[in-house]
Symmetry: C2
Subunit: 561 residues, 2 copies
Amino acid sequence: MQPVDLLLTGGRVLNVFSGVVEALDVAIAGGRVVGFGEYAARERLDVSGRTLLPGFCEGHIHLESTMLAPAALARAVAERGTTTVVADPHEIANVAGLDGVRYLSQAAPADWLDLRLMAPSCVPATPFETAGAEIGPDEIAEMLTWPQVLGLGEMMNFPGVIGGDPQVLAKLQTAQGRPLDGHAPGVTGQDLMAYLAAGPESDHEAVTLAEGEEKLRLGMWLMVREGSASRNLEALAPLLRSGLRHRCLLVSDDLEPGDLLERGHLDHLLRRAVALGTAPLDAVRAVTINVAQRFGLARVGGIAPGYAADIVAVDGLERFAVSTVLRGGMVLKHDGLWRAGDAAPVSTSAAVRDSVRLTLPTAEQLAVRVSGDGPAWVRVIVAQEGLIVTEAAEAQLPVRDGCVQAAPSQDVLKLAVIERHGRNGNIGLGFVRGFGLREGALATTVAHDSHNLLLAGADDQSLATAAAAIKRLGGGQVVARGERVLAELPLPLAGLMSDLPAAEVVQRSRELQQAAAQLGCRLSRPFMTLSFLALPVIPHLKLTDGGLFDVDHFRFTSLTP
Amino acid sequence: MQPVDLLLTGGRVLNVFSGVVEALDVAIAGGRVVGFGEYAARERLDVSGRTLLPGFCEGHIHLESTMLAPAALARAVAERGTTTVVADPHEIANVAGLDGVRYLSQAAPADWLDLRLMAPSCVPATPFETAGAEIGPDEIAEMLTWPQVLGLGEMMNFPGVIGGDPQVLAKLQTAQGRPLDGHAPGVTGQDLMAYLAAGPESDHEAVTLAEGEEKLRLGMWLMVREGSASRNLEALAPLLRSGLRHRCLLVSDDLEPGDLLERGHLDHLLRRAVALGTAPLDAVRAVTINVAQRFGLARVGGIAPGYAADIVAVDGLERFAVSTVLRGGMVLKHDGLWRAGDAAPVSTSAAVRDSVRLTLPTAEQLAVRVSGDGPAWVRVIVAQEGLIVTEAAEAQLPVRDGCVQAAPSQDVLKLAVIERHGRNGNIGLGFVRGFGLREGALATTVAHDSHNLLLAGADDQSLATAAAAIKRLGGGQVVARGERVLAELPLPLAGLMSDLPAAEVVQRSRELQQAAAQLGCRLSRPFMTLSFLALPVIPHLKLTDGGLFDVDHFRFTSLTP
């Protein structure tokens, strides 16, 4: 018999099928596990004292939320034991359409990460905003022919599904027989059943035990989400101990770069799940074989002959400290040291590199004009710490030269959404309370879901400075005061992702946060809160490039009450 | 809200996800389950007192073994609760190649049965026989583009896989990422691991508990087989109670028409499994959701919103008496009565209808000539009751006019395999012991795996009569004596399947058996035993159209020792 390529010696293998942990040497050839036990091998790798797990599989994430370039992201998660990611490239698709999805599919080194995609189903997210692209059934059909695309990404338009919107149903129909991901926050009873009847098979929006259990009992795959924005593991952990545990996955959904680098990726979720009383075997299954099952990934998610040699060595089933990572039989990391070198440079498409096609607003365009010179009553969006839901309020604001002014003394900033895809130059203006900024402005091109330029500031000069900085950076996040830029994070990839190393992205994010705090900002994650102010599917009052939007009545509304 | 198409009222639904049985009305629209509970409905169907199960899914069967035409088969299994069948059309492929597979894929009414196929991987089964077709990687690639074809059928050539035969590996490579079915009887340890390393993911050949458990622990899907020829459920039943039960399926593999009509299909396997101590929930899962999981069948195998409305009503979880069957929301059977009418006639391809291209052998061609006139020693195949394995022996047979004669007094018949695909007219001659025939002959075109004409008889006249009858029938099974045909079953579809109603096929099979018994036959299923005498992959001595074959040394051998 030919010697195998590699023998992992001295480790204990967790068998996700039988649940048994057993001391076994693992033989690898041609990128796959080929056997257990004694084999002649060209190379041996000592993993004594370690427990070997299948490479972790992320079942639902928007990669763009990490703000890392695909290669940097691949390395960051691979170092933490993740070897397969199923991503929904919803954000980049809203900016750059199929070109953006194609870029993402090619930019992560396959040697490090088995990246699969779900075709984004909701681009644009609503008709009430200007996105950079539209994706209809034809575009979905095209993406489904790409080898990396597994199925249809989260169908967020649940009212459209339940109401039988033909365009929405056509998208689901296009992907019939392929995995269909759902998104049904708080949907229950007959509405939930009507949603499921149209095809979605999974959900990552359950926040209560009852909601999670109802979804599982109705046949859904339950993606227990524990990300940066939403953390539902504690509430849903009992399901990981139930008879329904084989249909549970642990997923991130959104993951900020700081959380990724400091807490971890799926290794962190394993620690959390076990700390919350989940049996280690069931926790591991929820990031390995269950994910493979849900998506029909062939021979992934277990350590067994014929399975991809995606293997993680950890110090034990409590700390899950990742010491060694193999992907396709290649040793990426061993004894804690990265051994796979740097990623090959990946060319980026013009659609991704030059996505910020922004005409800077004139002073007149940023003006909110009213008749008369007395203080004016306006509707105000109320941002809330840690929530993406806003409240609606009213405020009486000063007027100067016929223009309504921000009023930092009342904690009211001017808010602007400026179309930046080079399509129509729309500008939506409004006001927001809750940031606490005494002066200066924040700006970001990460602005769900259309990712236009979103600005919030105490004065028009600061807004203009921030906008100009964004244009110069080709997308990013900025804190400015008057004519000065105080902190900036360039995000030249679709205005969503950086090309800097992961650690620097985290560092710059921190600087942005500190600069905002020095201007008086009270929010713990001001850019995350800001990024959701333009999302017109989340209650209650939002601002798009089309204007102020009343989510409760699902229509535009006037700035003055 | 629109009224739904159909409401099933008064039943109790077994939820294969949660394991709970709950009284729930089931709403159906557009062929799918759309909800539970109160719905306005255009039609209501009372299933009071019944337990509703997902339609049963057969994970591995050679349909041809039932000898029923696809439409008759579809009705016979649908009446017994089977709504999905994954078939490996290995037999018809050996006769009629891709035309045969295409015929099978189209001939079963989709209204009655969701028929999926696995592309046959081993056509011809060996290079030591003449089949009607060859299927290589290109033909497999073509079949994989057909919507009904899920993956690659059982890779029986396990020595070729383990030995790294490039042609065999090329077939597996062609189907990478699709379900790959295995076949590894008695293969264990490093050989089994080497087999799995090349891709096969399932096995239906395990006969002992240890064998089944090893396969499951190595990540295989275990198809617990309980068919007509092989019955392994009793030995493997403990696995259906184990932590590995989620990866077990109950399958038929081969199923004779009498067994199908008298005992049942998967309903019979459910009864057997529960009688052997399997929890009803786990038994049901093994013929529903587990099958769907193994093959990645979307929204099949459960009763839940969005799932195909393939639903079976039974009287309880012990007898599993099927009273009502819905397929895609259509009521096929209710209160025990078939309501779906007759199948639309399906055109049959010439490749299937005219598959017996047989030149009748001359007397000279059937003669076994030796020099000298004294009795001659020859090698004799020893057929054994209930086994497909043969033994090898020798016998001293009388010689007349220079030709070795059968010797019924010693229980030795002449055996002939006549190539019948119109390719080369090969004739292989030999002798067989064990049938007990005192006179007459048996003939069949069901002769694994190349399905040439196989004859066994006490005298050449009877052999000639039987062969002529087969030619007249265009394929089938015959018992003859002298110049008379005593019983016959026409199998004009590829020489494998009948176009008669199921009950008549069973009746005629019985008549064949009775006629054989009247000629002295001691075997309980002489045609089954006969059909395996030409299969050169089963030990120890076999006969193909190329001659006598020594399986142990995997080479042809001489008739005289």
